[in-house]
Each structure stands twice: as structure tokens, then as C-alpha cells.
Subunit: 132 residues, 2 copies
């Protein structure tokens, strides 16, 4: 249940989640990668094959290339452990040229240094629609 | 990564999450318990001791006794697996008489029959404030 490490401050975890939003909106792929631990796993969406290492760098390079922009929905939520979650809509334009919007909730787990070790993005096939 | 069972329909999972909100707001403790599998685990908040079996019934009896009311924040998010998540604010009045508001994000996992097997509620010490 993730209580095996010292609990990070809420502020540390929330700042990291907010930095994820800011670095996405700034188109800063390197800044996004820097938020993650070297052994991090991204499952985006939940139920898809996990991404690790260089796959994570490629993932964020694509995110930037697709012009991803995040619109937060309410404040980041913390926990009584080393996890936090946040709801948002994200718009992006994949190579086919049609700009899309996904409604997502991302849940993150952190290591002792405040780096993200796990990001799981909750969105399903019907949480994606054309942006307008 | 929770892909070891057939994926439920998004509609089934989202209806269950919406029923969680509706049954809370209706003060229906039995209706809430009925949404859960018999082996379900509730971790509310994330990082607190898990609740099971009769602890879950007591939890929802308290929720109803405390007049819990949920205000959804955006639509329920599904996944590409048997999980869904939703953001909300909840107000309730604990025995000390001061009505409180918690900003939470709840992530649920479902069994093949659409019952909740795991509910994890993301909220930290600074996600709670007086209701007003």
C-alpha cells in the first residue's frame, strides 16, 4: 500500500504534478523526463503496455511534437502516502492532423527524492473526442 | 497491470461510479455496500489502513450518518482495462459538528461482474477544509 517509505510532503508531490502540467504546456520534453525517476513506469492509458526508459523520452518527444496542452480540472489531490492524482483535459494533434481532446485522471507515485516512479493515466476509448 | 480479465464496458464501470455518487447523496448505505465485491478493499485515503468486509459496511454507515454529499468535478474517466477514476468534492459532518469538505479523486478496480474490488481515494491532509 505504498507506506514503506517516508511520506513526502504534500507540497513536494503537488509541485511535481503541477510541473508536469507546466512542462507539457511549455513544450519541454527534457523537463518532463527530468520529473521521472530512472526506473519509472508510465501506463498511459491504464491497460496499455507500460513504457520505461527510452520509451518515456520518446513518449514526451511525441507529446511535444503533437502540441499537447493540458487544462487542469480542479487542484491536485495528495494522499497520506507517497502518491498524488490530478484531473485534466489534454488537447493534442496526432500525425493525422485532427486535434483531439482527452479527459484524463493521472495518478502518480513518488520516490524519496520526489521523482515520479509510476504514472497511471485513467482514460478510456470514450474519453477522447475531437477538440473544438 | 490489471489486464488479466476481460475488459468491462466503459459504460458498466462509469455507471457504477455514478451509482457510488448517487447512493452517497441518497444516504443509502446498503446501496453503497452492494456496489462492492465481497472481497473488496477500500483505501480511503490512500496511505491509510485498508478496510474490508464489515469494516466497509461500518464505513458507509458512518458516511450516511455524517450526511456525506458528493459534488462531481468533471465526468468519470474509464481506462483500457477494468479500472475507472473520478474527481469530486465531498462534504460531511463528523461527530464534532463542524461540516468539512474534502477534495478527492477515487480510483476503482472492477471484477467481471462490474462490482468494485478496490477503491483508492487520493486526498491528503491539506485537501480537507471547512465546508462553507
Amino acid at each position: 500500500m505504498s507506506t514503506d517509505i517516508a511520506v513526502l510532503s504534500q507540497a513536494t508531490m503537488k509541485r511535481a504534478c503541477e510541473a508536469y502540467i507546466e512542462r507539457t504546456n511549455a513544450g519541454d520534453a527534457a523537463g518532463l523526463v527530468a520529473l521521472f525517476a530512472t526506473n519509472a513506469v508510465i501506463e498511459d492509458p491504464v491497460g496499455s503496455p507500460p513504457k520505461r526508459g527510452t520509451e518515456i523520452a520518446s513518449w514526451f518527444a511525441d507529446s511535444v511534437a503533437f502540441g499537447a496542452r493540458i487544462f487542469p480540472v480542479g487542484p491536485v489531490r495528495g494522499s497520506h502516502s507517497n502518491e498524488a492524482a490530478f484531473a485534466f483535459d489534454v488537447e493534442f494533434t496526432p500525425p493525422n492532423g485532427v486535434r483531439l481532446r482527452i479527459r484524463s485522471i493521472d495518478a502518480c507515485r513518488f520516490d524519496e527524492e520526489g521523482k515520479i516512479t509510476s504514472l497511471r493515466a485513467f482514460w478510456g476509448p470514450d474519453d477522447i473526442c475531437p477538440a473544438h
